[in-house]
């Protein structure tokens, strides 16, 4: 997902620098904090190869052990006199390399189609005109939050499989909206011990770059009720078909479908059969389930109780937009 990224501490240069602007492999990374801390957002794009290479690719490359170019500029202060630095980095050179994702693993997601006369390019992939194809995302019955929909075992502190290593849920994700089954999680983990098999940079033509993140959440079956909820099947997970050709926040729903139908490869829009395919890798989802199960049975992965459960109620508000604000400013 696009709301993924990594916090990196570069270590101090000599003389030291308080970074103002920084680029890794020509991707302008953000500098949210102190001197040499940076945040590599997955959706930041290279200035020289936009839409082809971005923050997500940097994270994958670092995890894979590659050496990347870093350059940074600064305005210079008495305590941080340096104004420019150019060097190369690998994950071994970094003090911290922490995957920190604001929003991951949506409980379910709407299926995207395009009712326009022309092809459109979206974060739900390339959508052909006149409902020519459809894309969905999420693992359906393999999705963690769908298996524990009232979040009885999932919350802050839950230890999880993250990108081939161990990570933690640190709370609800941004836009967590449990009331309509759009819950999601915020996660973090040490990216140095992750594997490029489960972290992949992605480039969506005409939209931008992103990051594929492999996540597995163990659900302890502590009661018959939790077990029953975890036994949910694809056909029971209903989701909407949405026309991404409508350039508005509320696009309305064309129809309802479920993950069994989505995984069958065909849905129906206005009684017409439309080919549908996934944007999430179901193969990786199954692989993660098996691997996490193996870690648990071999004693390599211990389950944790959440310190606090994810909220089951949360309002999801639209942006407050003030009409004619610029005109009012002029009048004032």
């Amino acid at each position: 997902m696009c709301s993924s990224g990594a916090v990196v501490n570069l270590g101090h240069a000599d003389p030291p620098i308080k970074i103002d602007k920084a680029w890794i492999n020509d991707v302008p990374v953000t500098h949210p904090g102190a001197a040499v801390d940076i945040y590599i957002g997955a959706s930041l794009m290279s200035e020289t190869r936009p839409f082809k290479y971005g923050g997500g690719h940097i994270i994958e490359d670092l995890i894979a052990g590659k050496e990347l170019d870093l350059r940074a500029t600064a305005y210079g202060t008495d305590c941080y006199p340096r104004t420019r630095v150019e060097t190369s980095i690998t994950k071994e050179d970094l003090n911290q390399f922490i995957l920190l994702n604001f929003r991951n693993a949506y409980q379910r997601y709407g299926c995207a189609v395009n009712g326009r006369e022309e092809t459109i390019y979206t974060y739900m992939g390339k959508l052909l005109p006149k409902y020519g194809n459809a894309h969905y995302s999420g693992g359906g019955e393999l999705n963690p939050l769908t298996n524990d929909p009232s979040y009885r075992t999932i919350g802050i502190g839950t230890r999880i499989f993250l990108g081939g290593g161990i990570g933690y849920i640190i709370g609800e994700g941004t836009q967590h909206s449990p009331g309509n089954r759009f819950g999601n999680i915020m996660v973090k983990g040490d990216a140095k011990q992750m594997s490029e098999e489960f972290i992949h940079g992605a480039s969506f033509t005409g939209y931008g770059t992103s990051l594929y993140v492999g996540i597995g959440v163990p659900i302890p079956l502590l009661s018959p009720d939790i077990a029953e909820k975890a036994a949910i099947r694809d056909r029971e997970i209903v989701t909407e078909i949405i026309d991404y050709g409508i350039p508005r926040r509320d696009r309305g729903n064309l129809a309802l479908t479920n993950y069994e139908e989505l995984k069958s490869g065909k849905i129906y829009v206005y009684d017409r059969r439309v080919k549908v395919s996934s944007l999430s890798s179901l193969r990786h989802a199954e692989k993660i389930c098996e691997l996490l199960k193996k870690w648990i049975t071999e004693g390599k992965f211990n389950l944790t109780s959440p310190v606090e459960r994810l909220p089951v109620e949360r309002e999801f508000k639209p942006m407050k937009q003030v009409a004619n604000k610029s005109k009012r400013e002029v009048a004032a």
Partner: protein, 129 residues
């Protein structure tokens, strides 16, 4: 049947060469897809394998190239089996196997006359051979 890619430049594309070849040689040429742009055009067709040489020569003598099709190639080292390409393919050349791995059946692919899938791949794993 064998697949053949017939390529026209921006002069030959305006002439009824395909009809001429079909009528003169009485060849059952099954056109699978075609594409025209400012540089000319391409036709992907199924032809009887026993008459392949005759067909190639018939086109070549009229100034038209006939060669092996340029199909889509999937780089398995880059592919993560997401499936973004699957719903875009008009001839169902992509399928998911029982392990949800994306499989490309090249014999179905329309290659350079289609190419709808290439830019859909978030891993840039698809290209023309």
């Amino acid at each position: 049947m064998t697949r053949l890619l017939i390529k026209f430049d921006n002069e030959t594309v305006e002439k009824p060469i395909t009809s001429e070849v079909i009528l003169k040689h009485k060849i059952p040429l099954n056109i699978l897809s075609a594409r025209i742009d400012q540089n000319g055009g391409e036709i992907l067709a199924d032809v009887p394998p026993n008459r392949l040489e005759e067909i190639i020569n018939a086109f070549r003598t009229r100034g038209v190239t006939a060669e092996e099709p340029r199909l889509i190639e999937k780089d398995d080292a880059l592919c993560i089996d997401c499936g973004a390409c699957v719903s875009l393919c008009p001839v169902d050349a992509y399928t998911l196997d029982e392990d949800y791995a994306v499989v490309l059946e090249s014999e179905k692919c329309l290659g350079s006359t289609c190419g709808l899938c290439i830019e859909s791949c978030p891993r840039e794993a698809l290209s023309l051979k």
